[in-house]
Symmetry: C2
Amino acid sequence: MSKIEIIPIQGIPEIREGDDIARIIFEYATSSGIGVKQNDIFVVKQKIVSKAEGRLVRISKVKPSAEALNIARENAKDPRLVEIILREARRIVRAERGVIITETKHGFVCANSGVDRSNVPRGFACLLPVDPDESARKIRESLESLSSRKVAVIISDTFGRPWRKGQVDVAIGCSGIEPILSYRGIKDRYGYTLRVTEPAIADEIASAAELASGKLSFVPVVVVRGLKFKRSEAGAKSIVMEREKDLFK
Amino acid sequence: MSKIEIIPIQGIPEIREGDDIARIIFEYATSSGIGVKQNDIFVVKQKIVSKAEGRLVRISKVKPSAEALNIARENAKDPRLVEIILREARRIVRAERGVIITETKHGFVCANSGVDRSNVPRGFACLLPVDPDESARKIRESLESLSSRKVAVIISDTFGRPWRKGQVDVAIGCSGIEPILSYRGIKDRYGYTLRVTEPAIADEIASAAELASGKLSFVPVVVVRGLKFKRSEAGAKSIVMEREKDLFK
């Protein structure tokens, strides 16, 4: 295997509702000389996808429910923000010590249902896209049409995790790439059958891209170039563990 | 920020107890033309570090305890392997449906205390290094001495995670790099203070490297080049969440 490159696309402007993200990516990839090559993987930060899709909520307009008021009081949070978090959630996984971890309607387990106030206009909260796999598919198809190249698109977000400090970027949506490889049943060099090796490459690609995106400069699109992958429309929803298989409900 | 490269070092032979991993990395990096550059990050698979350190156990020589026999029966496992897993563990986090998740003596929460039979000679189980940060430090110092360049070393292993299918590579040891960045208290472009953004870059680098290492070809060392990072000897132990802060004990 040869080397993989992680290339940030610089200069992408502030994204607003209705913006055509695929066209903007294509323009900045082209003008910067990065271009679009066959099998490039475009990793796009959830924040700009949500903004383009109008997933901003004005916090002052939200009326908190009794449940939101309760949780907000116990966790020293803004009850209107808690209300927004609850509306995006299927269930609360933990709400303790100021941390609210929910399962979103997509099935993602993350802090605050993915609702976030950073890098959005003051007074607004940003929600996850309604269907991030579908968002990824649209961007991929449009990028392919603009570039005449086959590409993949991953929509990434920053998630914490149990037992380890800090956060890592993971894939919340993808299109054009099989998100999990399977080596099940394949033998290693000693003839031992690998049983449980299924690298979640979509998550690893999202993490790799984060390294080149930075938090302060906020480069929202990164190209991962040189990685061989399998095309698929399984989507990031196929990464979500079925509840009944999960040891950590 | 400019691009980051993920470069596999090809051709590294089977590692045996007592092998000098730093010298082998240096030789193959040099002979392949990759070389060693200032601020290169060498991501080394745990398996070869463990092998060099003699962390292989002959399974047939292990006598299972009563507890190991019980857990093995309930989870359809080899009781001798369970005994090895228990000896490497501080506690069992979950043991259900054939999956044993423990907290290792290092504080890592992972399947089977990191004990693994793949890519090791048949009849043996491979344990994690006793002190992976110290293993990383030795490799880094030796690589720096051989190359006259400042580098960082990350020792990676493959961990599952709750709520998401598949596995990702994480850092179980590191030297020469601060494993977690902190943007706490820094303001975004809207003046909003980022409160909880602390990317676990050592884990993201391990994941990025996994993309170039493959499972079948088994490339055990990958260079990550072009990433700016902060030097530190905090080690991967600083990624481990303190038990009392963890919502998912």
